[in-house]
């Protein structure tokens, strides 16, 4: 099962290596990882999607806590969260396919951010499933290049 972890770490060089090295040597699988500075410039936030059962998750969390540079680990999997991923996708176009592709982009509420003679670049944000679905839909036109940020997640405001 996929779990989404928010990991608050010190914003130092080498911290990413410590975290990713821990996953590698304990044989935990990282599905995706994204990291950037937070509202506090001394702290970075990593969103890590990791595959494993509850027991693996428990170990991952405890081992992460042991790193001196890790401040906090929160499992967002079963929480009410907003998930987003950003993708930039280069799709092949020609006169025949152009309008169909543009329509698909519309349906997915994406944006065309660059248009060339034989390809377009589509920008898409949403949860991972939405991006997967878009990719499936346009693939037969010719998927030339795909960049994804990996998931980021934040707890919903309490109401």
């Amino acid at each position: 099962m996929l779990h989404t972890l928010a990991v608050l770490v010190e914003n130092h060089p080498g911290v990413l290596t410590r975290v990713s090295g821990l996953f590698a040597r304990r044989a935990y699988n990282i599905e995706s990882l994204s990291v950037c500075q937070t509202e506090d410039p001394d702290i970075s936030r990593m969103t890590i999607v990791v595959d494993g059962d509850d027991r693996v998750l428990e170990q991952v969390t405890k081992q992460l806590h042991k790193l001196v540079v890790v401040h906090k680990v929160v499992d967002l999997t079963s929480e009410a969260v907003v998930n987003r991923e950003l993708a930039l996708i280069r799709v092949k176009v020609n006169a025949d396919s152009r309008s169909e592709i543009l329509q698909t982009v519309d349906v997915f509420r994406g944006q065309v951010v660059d248009m060339g003679r034989s390809s377009v670049i589509v920008e898409l944000t949403g949860d991972s499933e939405k991006i997967d679905a878009f990719v499936r839909t346009v693939r037969h036109h010719g998927l030339m290049e795909l960049v994804r940020t990996g998931k980021i997640a934040i707890l919903r405001s309490d109401n």
Binding site: G14, G21, R55, V68, V70
Partner: protein, 568 residues
Amino acid sequence: MMEAESDLIMEPESGANLTGAEILLKALAAENVELIFGYPGGAVLPLYDALLQSPLRHVLVRHEQAAAHAADGYARVSGKPGVCLATSGPGATNLVTGIANAYMDSVPLVVLTGQVPTTLLGTDSFQEVDITGITMPITKHSYLVKDVREIPRIVKEAFYIAGSGRPGPVVIDLPKDIQAATTVPEEASLNLKSYKVFGKGNAGQIIEAAKAISASKRPVLYAGGGVISSGADGALRELCRKTGLPVVTTLMGIGSLPHEHPHLLGMVGMHGTVTANYAVDDCDLLIAVGVRFDDRVTSGLGHRFATKAKVIHIDIDPAEIGKVVRAGIPIVGDARQILESILERVEAPEIEDWWRQIRLWQEDHPLNYSQTDLSPRLIMEKIGELAGETSIVATDVGQHQMWAAQFYPVRRSRHFITSSGLGAMGFGLPAAIGAQLAQPEGLVFLVVGDGGLQMTMQELATIVQYDLPVKIALLDNGVLGMVRQLQGVFCGERFSEIQLHANPDFLKIAEAYGILGMRVKTEAEVEGAVREAIEHRGPVLMDFLISADEWVWPMVPPGKAITEMLGR
């Protein structure tokens, strides 16, 4: 006393500029460091220069690996963090085995390495290696110092991290220009926002544990290195007295109860006693204290280990709990404090029947003497008898290590020093050096094999240079005995590359270093030789010529349950 001296010599007039090297040495003195094991080189020139003016004692080893192992041995005996120092590049990489060893056995070390100047970092410059990167998986934490003003804080944090919680090694990598840079050092304080040390243990869980012990019918306490490092051996003895619990130990737990203690069933696991393994297999309550259910204990079969038991798992590292075996009553915290709290609440369970069963196993399955001319068991027992209760024994890795573990009558905690988790040949001699320096008046025996001795034999020079009266018991079988035994059992006696054909004449080696050497071939000679070794005021090497056909029994083959022992 060291601090007072250091004040005299090094206390600057307030506001004086000091070099990074001077600040570092001052910071070490402030941590009550008295001894550094090290080896110089280009990238630590400023440090060695500053050392000339420092009250810190430096022990010059002959290979950096020995500096790390000696600091490790020193830490295990003294309970204080050991400190070692090496130059950049090859000096630093030579420390790696020693760092890994300390990490596996949770030994507090502060490891200082020189590094190329910050201006050259990352350029593949001469003797540059990324030692913080290389050691990341085998350290508790590490620092690459980028600013001389950070040194006091980093040293303070390093000692705190190394020695607190679950102890372990911390590396401080010191670029040469940082050692030479000057500043006016400021008072340092810890800046560890998220580092947490667990102490007392959850009160509710402690009550649960005490209840479970009081109600148990077939309890076993499984004691590991955590009992020793937390100083819980006294509480353990008291618990035994109050409850009558039988105790098994890991290799790391040897010494937590005296060898002759009536409640001690011996070591558990691969080369444990039959009784200890049967008792763990059959118990209804396993009280695991400061242990990690290592595969040398469980055979890598957590799910087939103590299957009838409810498990109380006491450990200071939360990540150890549930890692291998699910604990019914987990308690995170300091073993000593937790055992003391349990003691206040526990009542003696009714376990006479259980003890009757245990005594039957003990009668049916004693550890046996071998039938050769010079039995390793006899050697261990004789040394233990003559060396007395306060003797410290350090071992290397192999068959001789297991014989020492089984038969040397260790009576005190911190008196059995061995490489357990890493099983690093070459550990013994340098560890004995560290042990002797931690207990200068103590009687230190090294039990070592002919293979392992040759991995760090150069350190014979160190014991001579520093006048360390280490008594070396070389169990000389002419082979890599433990591997030969494995090949005997698992490879149908197809022995491959285990013969040490060109062993030197170890008496001549001893003589070359100025060490008293003796050769012992028969059991009749053992007592005289050991007596002479103890009476001799300097180091001694006793070359015990034992048979290559001596095997360590019993033995649980890897992958088999602990009740499936060979050679019982």
